[in-house]
Symmetry: C2
DNA sequence: AACAGAGTTCCACATAATGGAACTGACTCA
DNA sequence: TGAGTCAGTTCCATTATGTGGAACTCTGTT
């Protein structure tokens, strides 16, 4: 993962010239969720109409956006195609996969693999429980690190200054009654996690959903990640999760080891 | 007919200016599969070293690429994140999903949803058979249209001139013994498919894999797509597939109808 | 007919991209 | 030890590209 020192405190506009602006427009359309009209987009990226118009037509030409008959803009298929290829060529995910499958067999519940990226964790793989209603892929989904099992596990591998930097950057949104509301609580829990080697999510991000997670940390490759086993609170109580902590930690350890082995020294894991 | 091979090799130098060049570099890295060194990249996009170097650093700054300790470049997580959001906000996929689930329940086999994009079909959703060994998401994967069930079904909705244009553009690669080797055979089969309303894949893309597919066509939204039910040849023979043709056609019809209803006139489906 | 609101085009201007060449540093091998 | 090679990085005069305010076109409205 890239740390992007960048001194991101200051204005982030146009650090990357034209590409930066184009990405801002793309992001605006993708983030919006629905189709966006020209004027909406001009609004949300505060750039002049002429500029936005040209950027949009370039993005459409490139297939990153698609334009409908009513002239509205939506994400194009090129993004999916690119993402699929980058995902399927991802060696970290590839190495981890068999371990995720084993973990799923042992527990019967959903297994996640996620990578820390600043204050968020990004899910890069998932083995779904057979009992799950919704089968949708969540790969690429970003969740806050401070209120997810994998997130907290990953944070626990960071050096204290790094952790503090991230914590300072985090906006603590109260998703449920159990969500940390400030850095203090999070930091205290991270201490425990460091001691135990595993983290719990006690319905902190979504009600009725909890998990056990363990960190995967390979500093040589800037890889700060984690695995988790997740289930609905009615089926997996804390005792059950605690009982799984060992296998989760073991899986994480094996992945870590194998990444070190197979990715060699000095390479980049993600 | 005219230029345009597969991706933008050199057909048009830079229709989209800087963005086009940046995307060419990104594509080069993503396509490569493994980590790419600076020199490799310079090679594969025939641009001057200085230029490529700057493009790469912008792409890294934007998070579209990640650079490892050994200076090599890999796809960054930003792509996954963008793709996830564009996928989960996709209304066509959303509308189709329940129909895919139903189809899966009826048949017990893997169900695919794909959109035609020139000579390729891009998978935008999938409901996996419980019996499948590999659970990996194939969303975003691109396969040739001429040798897949969904691809041929989708092609059968096109007007004859459009079809001929695509057929002329297609490179017929002999994946298996049953793959079409030329446009002639494909066009003849498309005629049948138009008559029947459904298409088969008789191990044309992968040995031991076959499917039935039906077209989803909503010209008002420039949507040319298809659904399929796929299985391994040893489990689902042609008779079985033929027996499923009806339910697949029905599902496709319902999706088509619902897209028309819910997306309204003049909007863009994809 | 006048107006408003959305999208598109134009073009003088300046910024940002360009790319050839020079620089650095790590290895190799004689 | 030093010439030789190769990879990555930086420099900077040149100019192609992107910029953005303003004018223009459509469509629909009152």
């Amino acid at each position: 993962m890239n740390e992007t020192k960048t001194t991101d405190a200051d204005s982030e506009i146009a650090g990357t010239g034209t590409l930066g602006k184009a990405m801002a427009v793309l992001e605006a359309v993708v983030t919006a969720g629905g189709p966006q009209r020209f004027t909406d987009i001009v609004q949300s990226v505060g750039q002049p109409r002429g500029t936005v118009h040209r950027l949009l037509s370039h993005l459409v030409e490139e297939g990153l956006l698609a334009q409908g008959r009513d002239l509205s803009y939506e994400p194009g298929l090129r993004l999916l195609k690119l993402a699929y290829r980058s995902w399927s060529g991802n060696r970290f995910r590839d190495i981890a996969e068999p371990h995720l499958l084993r973990l799923h067999e042992l527990t019967g519940e959903t297994v996640h693999l996620g990578v820390l990226q600043e204050t968020e964790i990004i899910y890069v793989d998932k083995v779904e429980s057979r009992q799950t209603v919704r089968m949708s892929s969540q790969i690429g989904k970003a969740s806050p690190a401070y209120c997810t099992g994998i997130g907290k596990a990953a944070l626990s591998s960071l050096s204290q200054p790094e952790l503090l930097r991230i914590a300072a950057k985090t906006r603590f949104h109260p998703f449920t009654a159990h969500t940390h509301r400030s850095a203090a609580g999070l930091l205290a829990e991270i201490d425990e996690i460091r001691r135990d080697g595993h983290a719990f999510d006690r319905e902190e991000h979504e009600a009725e959903i909890c998990c056990v997670a363990a960190p995967i940390f390979v500093p040589e490759h800037d890889l700060v990640a984690g695995v988790s086993v997740t289930g609905p609170a009615y089926r997996v109580n804390m005792a059950q999760l605690a009982a799984w902590a060992n296998v989760v930690r073991e899986a994480a350890g094996k992945i870590e080891e194998e990444v070190r082995m197979r990715l060699g020294p000095g390479r980049n894991g993600r």
